[in-house]
Structures are given as C-alpha cells and as structure tokens.
Assembly symmetry: C2
Homo-oligomer: 108 residues x 2
C-alpha cells in the first residue's frame, strides 16, 4: 500500500455517479472553472453566463457525486473541486481497464 494512495477504492455505484456527473458539457465547464481555483456561485454564474437556478441545479449534481464541495462564508458560498474524486475515478478506470485486459475466452 503506497503512501500516496490512501483512498478506499470506489464502489461501482459511486463511479457511475461520477461518470454521469461529468458527462455533461455544462458541468465539465464548471469543473474546469473550479480547477482554476475556488469560486463563489455568483462568480460562476457570471463566468459561465448561466441562470442562477440552472447553475444551482448542476452544482447539486456535482456535489452529490462528490466532485465538488461547498464552503459558506457570510453571504456567499464557495465551491471547490475535490481533486480526490478525480483521482478515485482514475484508479477505478485503471482497475476496469486491467480487468478487461484478460485473454479472450471463446464464444461458446
């Protein structure tokens, strides 16, 4: 067990939630934006040109998938990307790719 890999492996269910959350152009934009650093919602709406309730909806999807995290401060809510989530997904994908690399069985 390497010192850099302390997270328990993703369950298929969580992996699917992450995949689904990321499979949307708008949400990917949000991810990329937050990749550049924490943002408050009002900045995001401006940056991405979205209606407030629309953004809120997508933030919820990302939040529930564990991809982002909210922190409230005063009147604002700041969101940041949970890069652990991306890592977990990477590991899960690697595991899947491994599993699927087995020698072909014949078709019976």
């Amino acid at each position: 067990m390497g010192a850099l890999e302390h997270n328990p492996p993703l369950q298929a269910r969580q992996a699917r939630q992450l995949l689904r959350a990321m499979a949307d152009p708008l949400r990917l934009q949000v991810i990329e934006a937050l990749g550049g650093g924490e943002r408050c919602v009002c900045d995001l709406t401006g940056e991405l040109g979205l209606a407030q309730s629309k953004l809120s909806f997508h933030l919820k999807v990302l939040r529930e998938a564990g991809l982002i995290e909210a922190r409230e401060q005063g009147r604002w809510i700041y969101y940041r990307l949970r890069s652990e989530a991306l890592q977990d997904l990477q590991h899960w994908l690697a595991g899947l790719a491994d599993r699927c690399d087995q020698p072909a069985r014949g078709c019976n």
Copy 2:
C-alpha cells in the same frame, strides 16, 4: 511522443460520450462481460438475462461511443471491447486532473 501512446487525444465531445455510455449499470455489465473476451449477442442476452431488443439498444450506445466493435460472422454478430477507448479515456481524465491541479486563484 512515446511509442505506446499513438492515439490522438480525445475531444471533449468524445470523452463525454464515453463517460455517458459507461454511466449505466447495465452497460457496465456488458463492458465487464466483453472484458472477458468477444461474445456474440445471443450469448450476452443469456449471460446478462436481458431482452434482445433491450440489449441491442445498449450495444448501440456503447458502439456509438466507440467502446465496443461488432464483427459479423455468418448468422451471428460478435462484439468485442475496444480497450483503446478505455485507454483514451484514461488519458483524457489524466489531462483533466492535471489541468485542474493548478494553484488556486482568488475569487474576485
């Protein structure tokens, strides 16, 4: 340019299509099954206990995402997993994770 990485990087659109295709429990089952080697559709319906038209629908989604490939032989159609697709997605994800690892900018 490494000798092992000859595929052009995925476009965001293709990546999203892969993510979406994989974000479904049934389709993941198909992927895992094909990971064990090529199968014909009739074997898959048996193995997964699915109605023929239902499986056909999901195979189409996977096919259009580039995750699987069909080969017809006589009366049967054999599907195999395109492991390149999994690799491409891994690289794309790694790229995203990298891009999102930049030092936090402040919230203006």
